[in-house]
């Protein structure tokens, strides 16, 4: 079954604005990860947040995790045209061990940043 579900499915903003994408999941997790996929390319790992963390920052990225609501959000501040891509959340729900990269992905949010 699909685990991570992103919302919205598509987001269109102007350069300089902030972009917020949400992800909901169904089972207990070890960690949640966000990836970016540029058109026609593979995924690029952005950030990993563990189940015992609530917030994490990396450059212009801010990720929050609410395990009680089984949800996460990715905030991109001061967006740029180069941020245009699809963004996926993925959950590592292998309880008590290492997933060896067996992640469950959602369908992604398509972000378009207009210059």
């Amino acid at each position: 079954s699909q685990q991570g579900e992103e919302d919205p499915q598509a987001l269109s903003i102007q350069e300089g604005e902030n972009a917020t994408m949400n992800c909901s999941y169904k089972t207990s997790i070890n960690n949640l990860q966000w990836y970016r996929q540029n058109s026609g390319r593979g995924l690029v790992h952005l950030i990993l947040i563990r189940s015992n963390e609530r917030e994490k920052h990396s450059g212009r990225l801010r990720v929050t995790l609410d395990t009680s609501k089984k949800s996460s959000s990715l905030l991109i501040t001061a967006s740029r045209a180069a941020d245009t891509a699809s963004y996926f959340c993925a959950t590592d729900d292998y309880a008590g061990g290492t997933s060896y990269g067996k992640l469950t992905f959602g369908q992604g949010t398509i972000l378009t940043v207009h210059p």
Partner: protein, 113 residues
């Protein structure tokens, strides 16, 4: 030099054919994966190898057979191709202990006609 390279980039073939996709990584990672991305962009793991040992084998038709001759290579062979096999197939590699997918290849777009 490309870290994870897969070939071919595009593959168009007829139903019933057998085809292979190759993947190589030069990062020294110990784990490699095949993921399938369907037309709705939904990405799902198919296989994972750690040091040439199969560690993840999801519910995939047995027409799909991965082969890892060494830890730097993971190939995917598909027998008797069907229309529903049309998708983008991504190879990826990582270090097992990190629990994250380190590096993806650029994908192979398979179209079965």
């Amino acid at each position: 030099d490309t870290a994870v390279s897969q070939t071919p980039k595009y593959l168009v073939t007829q139903m019933g054919n057998d085809k292979s996709i190759k993947c190589e990584q030069n990062l020294g990672h110990d784990t490699m994966y095949w993921y399938k991305q369907d037309s709705k962009k939904f990405l799902k793991i198919m296989f994972s190898y750690n040091n040439k040992e199969l560690i993840i084998n999801e519910t995939v038709p047995n027409r799909f057979s991965p082969k890892s001759p060494d830890k730097a290579h993971l190939n995917l062979h598909i027998n008797s191709l069907e229309l529903g096999d049309s998708a983008v197939y991504f190879c990826a590699s990582s270090q097992r202990r990190t629990g994250r997918l380190g590096t993806f290849g650029s994908g192979t777009r398979l179209t079965v006609v």
